[in-house]
Amino acid sequence: MKVLLYIGLAALALLSRTAGAELFDGANGHEMKRIAYSSKLGVEVFAETTDGKWCDDIVSLKLFAHDETAFDEALLSKLMEKVGRVLESECPSVKQAAVDGYNDNTLVYQGGASRPDKWKPEKGTLKIQIRQLQAAAAKTGKSPDWVPPAGKKILARVDPSALEHRVYSKDKKCSVFLTTDKPANVIKKWSVVVGDNSCSENLIYGRANVTLFDEKGKYAGTADGYFTEGRFTGRKNLNVVPLNRYGYGRNVQNLSYLIESDPELKIHYVGYLTSRRNPKTGRYSVWSGCSPFTIAAVTDNEELFLDASVTDNIIRTAQSFADIFCPGVKKMKFFATRVPQGLPGMDMPETEDSDLSEDTRLIYSAVMRRGKDKKWKFVTDTAQNLARLREMKRRAEETREHQLMMADYNELTRSDYLGRLAYMHGVERIDNPLSMLVASQIIESPVSVNSLVRIASLGKDSAWTDWPAVIRLTGTGGLLNRSGWHIVSGALAPLPQDQRKIQGVPDGDFAGTLELSAATACEEEGCREISDVVSLVRRRHDKPSWTPYHAPQRTNGE
């Protein structure tokens, strides 16, 4: 095995010299220099250049592989070890490398390597993140759970709302995705003729000249420009990883794509392309994502936006993506959200009723413009940090709840036994069943009561108490599951005479029947746990760690 590796290394080193002067028009418009090639692994290694130079402290590498397995940890480690040596040889100042891995022109790996770590690559996370985002988009409103699913090939997930048809060349070796609202059975008969493109994986990537023919074989149009996963982007060469293809009605069609993922902050940066229908011609525009540039930071990590410096950093990152994907763009929309799609203004058309201030899926949103100084500035009144607003609200509620709990606590310390029982059961007062039996006898109607009782026996849907009187509880299913002390609520009436006789209730003794509506089980004899006022308040407010006199800390600006 070692011998094979050395042979591979030698071949790579040889190729690195021969490829030294070769330049080509990179997928995203940047100049690229091929610095290495491994025929054994089927991997070409390119370095991104700036002003014709690629060598720096940090270099950006693009690895193009014929087989996705080239980015498996073990193989990639060996490859990067060799690439590292080439880098050190060709560019002595290099310390780190950012690595993007492509398979069939599709970004499938993102990571990095550094000289101190002997060019051992980071674990690639891109593929699983793409799948998470696609899955999240499929389940509207559900955020990515950061658990990687299994799988291999990644293509954009096409939603049923997408007005999209795949149109093949006559030989079926090449195809494009055509956005049209024409019927599928008609489009099925359409065809393309592709020029200037190798058409890998049966889909056009990159530059091509595509001529479209309708079902009758008549010329239907030409698409001369760049394609991303078979979708025409006009003069814009977007070498991106499409995530989801969907639409909001026939007029607005969408395509989301992954810009970058930040595993440390747990953020996916997602961009959006739109294709709009021309009402006059019925045709759809080329896919565009720069008017304005719209970017979403998809994350569950809402707390990031509670810190102003982190928020600024994330926004700066988004601004840098605007420069990369849409150089010169003057307007951008930034969203931080839990979901990758489905927010008005982000990818959904906005309406008059669109109000995202209460939308828990949205974390942050802002519209930015830049003028002649090229600095991004927030458009007045467009920035809203909902994470912070929610946090302030939460803390205000927490403070308020603490005040309520303190009020309860103070009240309870002054309350008598019955008052505490009532609090425990969540009612205004605890009634004496004997008094209420008399009341029921006088008004000749059941009386609504809340009482402390001891359940002596429990049946299928009824129970009997033996304290403070014999009371038959009915409708106990689902409300009682054990005997003992309870605080019960329900409609109380005297026990009928025949039942008194059956139960052997002496004359003069009270006995009743209670249609149960609620019950609170007690742990101790006579519900004596109510003497612990703190526990009582905690239980009522569902705050098991609450302590009196320790108010929650207030945030600045509250």
């Binding site: 036994y417 019955l418 007062r429 009634d431 004496n432 069943p433 004997l434 008094s435 209420m436 008399v438 009341a439 006898q441 006088i442 008004i443 000749e444 109607s445 009386v447 402390l452 304290w467 403070p468 009187a469 004359d507 003069g508 003794d509 009270f510 004899e525 006579g526």
Partner: protein
């Protein structure tokens, strides 16, 4: 005796029997008329129904199967097996002596309460807020029900005596029921004018017609002085039942001491309450202890005023309970308790 003599005796006997029968019929008819006249004269004919009038063999007029028809605002089923006027005397057309006895008084306390026709919410609220001490006086009927006494089957005796010239009156009341126990109450009053005496009769009439004799009783007692008073109660089930209720009210758990019984702290509270009216702490403590003993072991308790003591009602101040306390203390009341062992001898 010859046959003719015997025949004559039989004929005479038959004649005498016939005459006696005829006389009885005439008397019954006369008595019936007298009763009707009395009821009409006192405007209570509509309020009293009876089955029959007994023949008076010893000056005792007895109405059988009596039903009192109270006012529509206070009407409930009741039955008195027999109601006897044992004696009745007038002095200068003023009733000066009356003794009546009622046997088999039957009614349900709950029926009496229902007849008040209070709103259900009021009934519930009143009972929810029931105070076990003051409630005995302010909600007596409810107290009986809370003690477990509903069906009443009682015998009662009432005696009245009035000396118009001396303006003195004495009243005696006794009732015995299987659940409510035996109650005896006697009071001697001074300074009762003829007009005030009339208010007592009016009170009885208003009880029947309006259900509320309070104002008449106030007028009756206005300016009166109590010169003697006694009261006794012999337990049947009332106090025991009430203790059970109080136990439940204060959540007495099994095995715990009864909060209904008066402990030393409770005795002190009673003494303090009484001492506010009369600072005779030794006597007050004795009274409080006797009451506590009775509550603990309810048999018979009697209150007896000291001879020669008197108390003017208008001099009493405070609420009803305070005034009663002050009255008892001004009369230098003494309390006795008896056990059932002695009571049954």
């Amino acid at each position: 005796m010859t046959k003719s003599m015997a025949a004559a005796v039989v004929i005479l006997l038959l004649l005498f029997s016939g005459c006696a029968f005829f006389i009885v019929l005439l008397q019954r008819d006369e008595l019936e008329k007298d009763v009707q006249y009395f009821l009409i004269k006192n405007k209570i004919r509509q309020n009293v129904e009876y089955g029959s009038v007994s023949v008076p063999l010893s000056d005792i007029v007895t109405l059988n199967d009596v039903e009192i028809r109270f006012s529509p605002y206070f009407s409930f089923p009741n039955k008195i097996r027999s109601f006897s006027v044992v004696s009745y005397r007038e002095t200068k057309t003023i009733p000066s002596a009356l003794s009546v006895s009622a046997k088999g008084i039957r009614f349900k306390i709950s029926d009496a309460l229902k007849s008040r026709k209070k709103a259900p919410e009021t009934v519930i609220e009143d009972l929810a807020a029931f105070d076990p001490v003051s409630g005995i006086f302010t909600m007596s009927l409810e107290t009986f029900l809370l003690s477990g006494c509903d069906s009443v089957n009682a015998d009662a005796d009432i005696r009245y005596a009035y000396l118009p010239d001396a303006k003195k009156m004495s009243l005696y009341f006794k009732i015995k029921d299987g659940c409510l126990g035996q109650w005896q109450f006697g009071v001697s009053l001074d300074n009762i004018s003829n007009e005030q005496q009339g208010r007592l009769a009016a009170a009885a009439g208003h009880l029947l017609k309006k259900g509320d004799p309070v104002q008449d009783l106030r007028d009756f007692l206005k300016g009166a002085t109590v010169t003697a008073m006694n009261f006794s109660y012999t337990e049947s089930k009332l106090v025991t039942g009430y203790k059970k209720y109080v136990d439940s009210l204060y959540l007495r758990l099994p095995g715990q001491p009864s909060p209904a019984e008066i402990d030393s702290k409770g005795i002190q509270s009673i003494v303090s309450y009484m001492s506010f009216s009369s600072p005779h702490r030794l006597r007050n403590t004795e009274i409080a202890r006797k009451i506590a003993d009775f509550v603990k072991n309810p048999e018979t308790i009697s209150f007896q005023s000291k001879a020669g003591k008197k108390a003017a009602l208008k001099a009493l101040r405070g609420n009803a309970f305070r005034r009663l306390t002050e009255l008892l203390l001004r009369l230098d009341i003494s309390v006795q308790t008896e056990s059932s062992v002695f009571g049954t001898l």
